[in-house]
Amino acid sequence: MANDPTHQFQVFKIVPIEIGGIDFSFTNASLFMVATVAAASGFLYFSTANRGLIPTRMQSVAEMSYEFIASMLREGAGSQGMKFFPMVFSLFMFVLTANLLGMFPYFFTVTSQIIVTFALALFVILTVLIYGFYKHGLHFLSVFAPAGVPKVLLPLVSSIEIISFLSRPISLSVRLFANMLAGHITLKVFAGFVASMSAMGALGVGGAILPLLMTVAMTGLEFLVAFLQAYVFAVLTCMYLNDAVHGGH
């Protein structure tokens, strides 16, 4: 069981709760969602508590992440898209913190659960749809009919556009989920090699050096992936919001 690389994704109940026959137990996943929110909001709250004109190190990290997302959103969706700033910022910080917390050994990775990433992706897509139809009415459908396409090709292009739009929540959620899952499984497998090889005597210990180095390198790579996936999630959110803000233009 200890060497099962999927064991780390096991969700188990800490406080069983059931409302109306549906399971709402407080699980280890819930615990780490709470931890993620506590870490992220605690960091952002306390680092900016002094409101320093000259920022401390921590405050400038918080400011950097703010400006990072602000410029990303402004580039992606224009200044009209800035009303979605709290949403993109929350998504980025939540995903980033969840990914980074997952890097601690024995910690549960919230974003390695497809249901979580899918819920976040659906939140983005529903926001795009609802705001798009609210802002542009039926003109929002022109997103699916790019300007300058010959009439003959329009049905084909539109169906491709619709399929690509529908696949957005899937690609958005699966990308994050699969990256986190695969990275953690790979780490676990390589780390497992170290343990099992070093149990085979002197030769095994010598041979275990290779997977150990691999594990170290993978850990570094996983930190990069943790940031990169949060970044990609935020960038794509900005791009999708651009459709909602500007319609099909």
């Binding site: 999927t6 994704f9 096991q10 969700v11 109940k13 709760i17 549906i22 399971d23 709402f24 137990s25 407080f26 699980t27 996943a29 819930s30 969602m33 709470v34 993620t36 929110v37 992220a40 909001s41 952002l44 709250y45 900016t48 409101r51 320093g52 004109l53 920022p55 405050q59 918080a62 400011e63 703010y66 400006e67 700033f85 709290p86 949403m87 910022f89 929350s90 910080m93 939540f94 390695s112 659960q113 497809i114 249901i115 979580v116 819920a119 976040l120 989920f177 899952l181």
Partner: protein, 206 residues
């Protein structure tokens, strides 16, 4: 009914949860729960275990909702405020700096203007002084020249007087010398009137 437990144990081993479907309603229910229980322990890949989805979704909504609320109500306005405040402060400081620079420029300009006027004033003063000195020198020279010419004139006058006197005395000396010569040559003393007349005629001839 006695077959049911066996079925329940057998179904997960087959890995086909639908194996019991259609045999008996009671057996089906039993089998389904058995599979679900087994799956939770080992079988299904954990992220695809849909029995955990409802609780994960609920807690995600609670935690992310709270996070979103905190971000929107507290963190985003605060960080935005800090950045705006800093931006304003920098703009204000830049304004202050440009105002001070303008002031310094004005001061430099006044200074240069004053320097130029002082230089001009100094030039005038020097010019006046030079003029005054030149005038004084000219006056002095004129005074000295007049004085000198006066002295020259006086000297010439005295020379003329002395010359006249000398000429007058030349007659007397010549008379005396002529009287003495006549006395030596002839013997008797010649009268003063004769000598004077002879000298006078000689003077006229000379």
């Amino acid at each position: 009914m006695f077959v049911t437990p066996a079925f329940a144990q057998g179904a997960p081993a087959n890995g086909d949860p639908n194996a019991a479907t259609g045999t008996a309603p009671a057996a089906e229910v039993h089998t389904e729960t058995g599979v679900a229980h087994d799956a939770h322990a080992t079988g299904v890949f954990p992220p695809f275990d849909h029995t955990t989805y409802s609780s994960q979704l609920l807690w995600l909504v609670i935690t992310f909702g709270f996070f979103y609320w905190i971000m929107q109500k507290v963190v985003v306005p605060r960080v935005g405020g800090i950045l705006e405040h800093r931006h304003d402060r920098i703009a204000q400081d830049l304004d202050e700096a440009s105002r001070l620079k303008a002031e310094a420029d004005a001061a430099v300009e006044t200074y240069e203007k004053e320097l130029a006027s002082a230089r001009a004033k100094a030039g005038t003063i020097a010019e006046t002084a030079r003029e005054a000195a030149r005038a004084k020198a000219a006056a002095d020279r004129a005074a000295i020249e007049t004085e000198l010419s006066e002295k020259i004139a006086a000297a010439e006058a005295s020379i003329a007087t002395i010359k006249a006197q000398a000429f007058a005395e030349v007659g007397a000396i010549a008379e005396e010398a002529a009287g003495a010569i006549v006395e030596q040559l002839i013997g008797p003393k010649a009268s003063a009137e004769d000598v004077r007349a002879a000298v006078a005629s000689a003077k006229v001839e000379a």
